[in-house]
Symmetry: C2
Subunit: 822 residues, 2 copies
């Protein structure tokens, strides 16, 4: 056996302690090599072949797919890692998850899951035999088939191979609360250049080696991206070692396969590195169990695997070096159907794997490979962690103990919505002690969710200081100043069957727009995969929103995440704008119970007037929108049949601050123009505005018309960009009468009322809008006076703020003065 | 002088060569300390004081702002760096730019620019005297005043202190093509946790020490974010050194100010570190000039400054440790107006700076400080680099030599739009040899812009291999697999007066949504700052778009960036969808000449039918949209008066692939229903659809109605999400008749026609839409047959693709068969 002597050779570079691991060499490396060759063969087959999978006949033009799509370059490396991890699992029984960063290695991941047998279990038509192999090949990157990158369709995958950068954060998220699990994460050297990946290296700062799993990063340096070398491949090796140590890892360097080196020598080095890494992880765990982790000293192991891009593929094609260069990135032989020389090279290439040693006469993997196949759920492709499968349903404690007791006349109570929610969130954390986590970019306290620190802490594996507050070796809260990392950890946590919440300042959640997109697309695709289990929804709580950036300026004022969200499939996305604390409670209780969705909830943290009792809030969230008759002025209104009466005008609102302004405007009108019939509508579930044919939460046209009328002016005070309301409601009967106020992209560091003034969303402006939109009203003499008065009030309020640095008392101190029960 | 002995002490930690720098100690450190104290005084004053700036009277409640907003914690560190950089500039004359990462250090940056005298030059009402100081204090974070973070209003700033993460990439972008410049970049230890910042450390891989400036990163470890410690502050110091070395830097560690240490000792260490860093930079430059850089060996210097958060502020407030903890992050004394004890502490705090040594009786900085103030444009606050000021207008070579010669009958010419543009882009690079750069996330070749490599290379300071292609020590193209880094470098390059382009796959540009937002907000705010000079527009070329992801799958299919873009102020944003190569050329020539905008151009790279001659393309881009009479069927149409005739239906299109389908649909209709009057409208400038009152490019209602009619059905084939067209056009007369097809969020790895089919955007669907929308048409017998035929054609095309793996010849090979000149 070629590699036997080299077997226990030390991986080069990077110090590490002598391993105390007693070799359990039950799997000969020759078998690892065989698995690797089989996976390579299957990878190439998927890229090229339509039929004749085992080359029973001489390879012919018609065996070749007409469009050659796929990525060969990364595949042999991914296959090598898979084979070696299988060996570690078989020898040790350590449950291991494979997170594949080089997403375009779809052919590799699919090949291994087919060798595992999992593929045929999940896709019975793709049998583990010659015919199944032919199907496996043909379906890859083929219309009606499977995508070219790791995707929800790929068994064992929790990482979409589309946009790169999220593999390592997904791995760390998967490891949380999974003691005993090893998450092996292959990171391409291209992906390693992305910001999100770079922010992930320190994921171990939030890991408890005793109660969490471990992550084993495997940086695959194959040297090239699409058409460029990679940075980490071209720096001095000493700098690379520093790089890993500087991130808290001890790297194990495995280099090989260059200049025709015998793969068996590489197998020996790789096997040793894997052994050392698993041993090191076991040692760190044992130390932690013995209490030694209290003073963080351990460096986690990481493997650097440096092999040629497209290793074992064609070396030179048409005089151009392909193996070991970026030319191996996609399809090394592009002209196979047209060029007989290329066809012959492909034939040689495929035969170089010696399929006769890999597959039996029926096209099944040879029996010897059974020894390298972990059993049942230990197969990485069959890991229950990789297929959602909610570990335990979330326990939702009652919200009532935390609800605000809103006085029946609505007077005199001020509440901070997120603070009220935070108290209930603490209960959620307590009731779900190892399946719920809270993630935030250092804004949990700022967003007034501090009550959670009464029941838990922030987890922190780095140094602790005596003055630290709510920071400990264990905790259910993770905070780092990276929205990317928070989102990625939560995604990994959810996709492995658990529950959680991410909170952020509203403006900065745009940082993860593309991560939201990728996750939503994952959920959209997963709906079509019958064996994919439900996962808990990804829920955002966005606070410190556009209207209350008293501390901050224009750069913090952006409500546009909602626009990104509504573009995704209606089955997936929900947007909620609870107007007060009790509706926020009702909303969050609802969204935590949902599955396979993305829920976006926007709620303020500042003290403000409260509107709904707990019962009313529950009913309002259930309905999604409703007429608040007590805030309007519509004699004869019948809640059971809103279409039966016809107001002169509808004032609608969505969002906590716009709701205050809308109610205030309605009050101004009621006091000054008591004959004007005003209906106030509050929208908490934004998708209600869309047509039911477009969104499952949408109102029918009849329902919509009953609330918003078919004919009367509607003044809509909206939290976000006004065009979003038009985008949702443009099909509605009364759309031509819909006038929306919202964020008009004007802002600075200023007072709350001045922000409303700047964007024409203040109460006076809304009341003026009503006057101008109700036919004939503006020209009445009494009204003309009012118009002047309200315009003067706006100007005066602003002048007061500019003079005194605050909103005038009669603005900030404004309360809902008209008793609700009238 | 307290620090004199310690002056030449070696900074602790981190090896570095002995400095060969001959001390030019013309500025005593006592003066540096005085500047620092003055800046600290002015920082505190801005946060707290409305009046009584020099404490001439005992501090009273009414001197205090009613709302205390601002961030003290980072300010003393920023001030320290500023004072020490001033010393280096005065002693060496090295032009230096200060990029302030901790954006909330607004008070610090403003304080120093006022001490520089620049502030009063740019804002004459804020004089350099007592009255001006009072204005300076009052305006900070005050309604009608200035924001609390570094912003366009801040002299010397090119980095908005809103969303964190972009300081270091802005610094590297500023350094490019600025030989001799040092860009000192202060990075907060919070910001250092973000992904984008983490991706920036390797910015020096794209720097040529001879022809570019240098970046001096200064990591400010004050230990805390909003409410958490920072990761880099809590790792072992040896790991921190490894971290820097692993990124190619030699760190100079400066620690001090803890436990009441005399600041003079810290000044000595900091002065030494700055001297060593400047010397090292000079040495690297000299080596490079001597040719030594060819083998990259040098480590760039970096400074790690570890001082207490809120240093020199209140130590303990109400029994809680404040200095040196996160409690110093914002306003350390929050109850000053209500709490006389806090008021007294503030008084002590302010007086601790000994204002009488800092300002003269008139409130001017004392004359001694003149010695630390660089002269004129050497002041960092007055650096011409920091105020746009386009260095040279872009040279735009003629496009005609590269334009495609489209046959007059439109037949038989296939072109790849981006490849054609690439050839012209090479000319642009050649004509602007040191003021234009191209940035891309390893997609320049993939997006078929490879012609630029005939005139330049990719710049690469890491190892070069013999097989490398278009990679060199100098070049005008920068590529790394980080959209963040590419965007950030370009922003830094543009804001310092140069020109450039970023190219990306369309779907993945969402990665920089929030960076786009921040840059657009910068431009929006800068319009209000009279002294800000024009900057070149930020232009995106998005290719590999949603409709041609043949290689890739659903994760690569997302046209939603346009939705993000249109939310920004109309004065800033432009969106172009050129339908062929010549319109792309005309579009790019236009956008390169614009200023202070963000231009988004979406264009495909795949071979497709060409439509417009160069002259027609220029005219079409100038008009923004137009009727293509030759593609429709509207006898009597008058191009000079489109409203004079009335078609039965309008087929509109925007985007290259939708244009092909729209023209094909019109052809189907013309051949099959020759009596049907069809008008085809192509939209290249999307903002034309918006109302002129909303967007400067918008059509008036009259113009719009003349083209789209007031009454007839409009079938709109759109590149992106259909709702975007409704969002732009909902105010138009004929909106109720507007039916938009576009990306319906359905996709996978499949053929181009199947993608259209999946999203109901194919030619047959469009023709069917016409049939269903033109009143009475669908029920005619002949049409009923057509409907069946077209539906069958769709199904057959799909079945063919699913069977054969490609689109049928009669789809992909489709050509514009009807001569244009008819």
């Amino acid at each position: 056996m070629a590699g036997a002597e080299g077997r226990r050779a030390r991986p080069t570079g990077g110090e590490h302690e002598a391993s105390d691991h007693a070799p359990r060499d039950t799997v000969p490396l020759e078998l690892v090599d065989r698995w690797w060759r089989a996976a390579n063969y299957l990878s190439v087959g998927q890229i090229y072949l339509m039929r004749n999978p085992l080359l029973d006949e001489p390879l012919a033009r018609d065996d070749i797919k007409p469009r050659l799509l796929g990525h060969w370059g990364t595949s042999p490396g991914l296959n090598l890692v898979y084979a070696h991890l299988n060996r570690a699992i078989v020898e040790r029984g350590t449950p291991t998850l494979y997170v594949c960063g080089p997403g375009h290695g779809g052919p590799a991941m699919v090949a291994n899951t087919w060798l595992d047998g999992t593929y045929s279990e999940l896709f019975p038509q793709v049998t583990t035999d010659r015919e199944g192999m032919a199907r496996l090949f043909r379906q890859f990157s083929f219309p009606g088939g499977i995508p070219s990158h790791a995707a929800p369709e790929t068994p064992g995958s929790i990482n979409e191979g589309g946009e790169l950068g999220y593999a390592l954060m997904h791995a760390y998220g998967a490891a949380l609360d999974n003691p005993g699990l090893v998450v092996a994460c292959v990171i391409g050297d291209g992906e390693a250049e992305t910001g999100p990946l770079a922010a992930s290296w320190r994921g171990h700062a939030f890991l408890d080696p005793e109660t969490d799993g471990a992550v084993l990063p495997i940086l695959h340096l194959n040297g090239y991206k699409i058409a460029n070398p990679t940075l980490l491949d071209r720096i001095p090796e000493s700098e690379l070692v520093d790089f890993f140590r500087g991130h808290g890892y001890e790297p194990l360097l495995v280099t090989g396969g260059f200049d025709g080196e015998d793969p068996m020598a590489v197998h020996a080095r790789m096997a040793d590195a894997i052994d050392v890494a698993y041993d090191r992880i076991a040692a760190i765990r044992a130390d932690a169990a013995a209490g030694a982790f209290a003073a963080r000293a351990a460096r986690w192991p990481a493997i650097v695997l440096r092999t040629p891009k497209g290793w074992t593929g064609p070396r030179v094609v048409d005089g151009v070096q392909v193996e070991g260069t970026f030319h191996a990135h996609q399809v090394p032989l592009a002209g196979v159907r047209e060029n007989p020389a290329h066809l012959a090279m492909l034939d040689d290439w495929l035969r170089s794997y010696r399929a006769e040693e890999l597959f039996d006469d029926d096209g099944r993997p040879v029996a010897e490979l059974d020894a390298l196949r972990p059993s049942g759920a230990l197969r990485m492709s069959a890991s229950p962690h990789a297929n959602g499968g909610i570990v335990r349903p979330i326990e939702l404690p009652p919200t009532r103990p935390h609800a605000l007791d809103v006085p029946s006349d609505g007077r005199g109570l001020s509440g901070e919505a997120t603070r009220v929610f935070g108290a209930w969130l603490a209960d959620v954390v307590r009731e779900n002690p190892d399946t719920f986590r809270l993630f935030g970019p250092d804004e949990v306290l700022s967003n007034r969710l501090g009550a959670v620190f009464e029941v838990t802490d922030r987890v922190w594996a780095e140094a602790l200081h005596p003055l630290d507050e709510h920071l400990a070796r264990r905790g259910r809260v993770i905070e780092a100043l990276s929205e990317h990392l928070m989102q990625g950890l939560l995604e990994g946590y959810l996709l492995t069957g658990r529950h959680g919440l991410i909170t952020s300042y509203e403006a900065f959640i745009h940082i993860v727009d593309s991560m939201f997109n990728q996750h939503a697309k994952w959920l959209e695709s997963a709906r079509e995969v019958p064996w994919r289990a439900d996962v808990a929804s990804l829920s955002y709580l966005l606070s410190s929103h556009v209207w209350r950036q008293d501390h901050n300026g224009f750069s913090h004022q952006d409500p546009g995440f909602l626009n990104v969200v509504v573009n995704k499939q209606a089955e997936i996305v929900r947007v909620y704008l609870p107007p007060d604390a009790n509706t926020l409670l009702a909303t969050m209780r609802h969204v935590f119970g949902t599955r396979n969705r993305v829920n976006v909830v926007v709620a303020g943290k500042q003290p403000q007037q409260q509107w709904l009792s707990p019962d009313e809030a529950d009913a309002h969230v259930g309905a999604g929108l409703g007429v608040w008759a007590w805030a309007g002025n519509e004699p004869g209104f019948d809640a059971g049949d809103p279409g039966a009466s016809l107001p002169d005008v509808v004032i609608a609102c969505a969002g906590d601050v716009p709701t205050v302004e809308a109610i205030a405007a309605a009050q101004l009108l009621r006091l000054q123009l008591p004959a004007l019939r005003v209906r106030l509508v509050n929208v908490v579930d934004l998708m209600r505005l869309q047509d039911r044919s477009r969104h499952p939460h949408g109102l029918t046209d009849e329902e919509f018309d009953a609330v918003f009328t078919r004919t009367q002016p509607v003044i809509f005070a909206f939290h976000g960009y006004p065009s979003l309301i038009h985008q949702l409601a443009y099909r509605r009967t009364n759309h031509a009468n819909l006038h929306v106020r919202g964020f008009a992209e004007r802002g600075t560091t200023t007072t709350p009322f001045d922000m409303l003034h700047l964007n024409d969303l203040d109460r006076y402006r809304l009341a003026l809008d009503v006057v101008h939109r109700v036919p004939g009203l503006a020209s009445r003499p009494r009204v003309e006076e009012l118009v002047e008065e309200w315009q003067a009030a706006r100007t005066a309020a602003r002048a007061y703020a500019y003079e005194h640095g605050e909103d005038p008392e009669w603005i900030t101190g404004w309360r809902f003065e008209v008793p609700r029960g009238e």
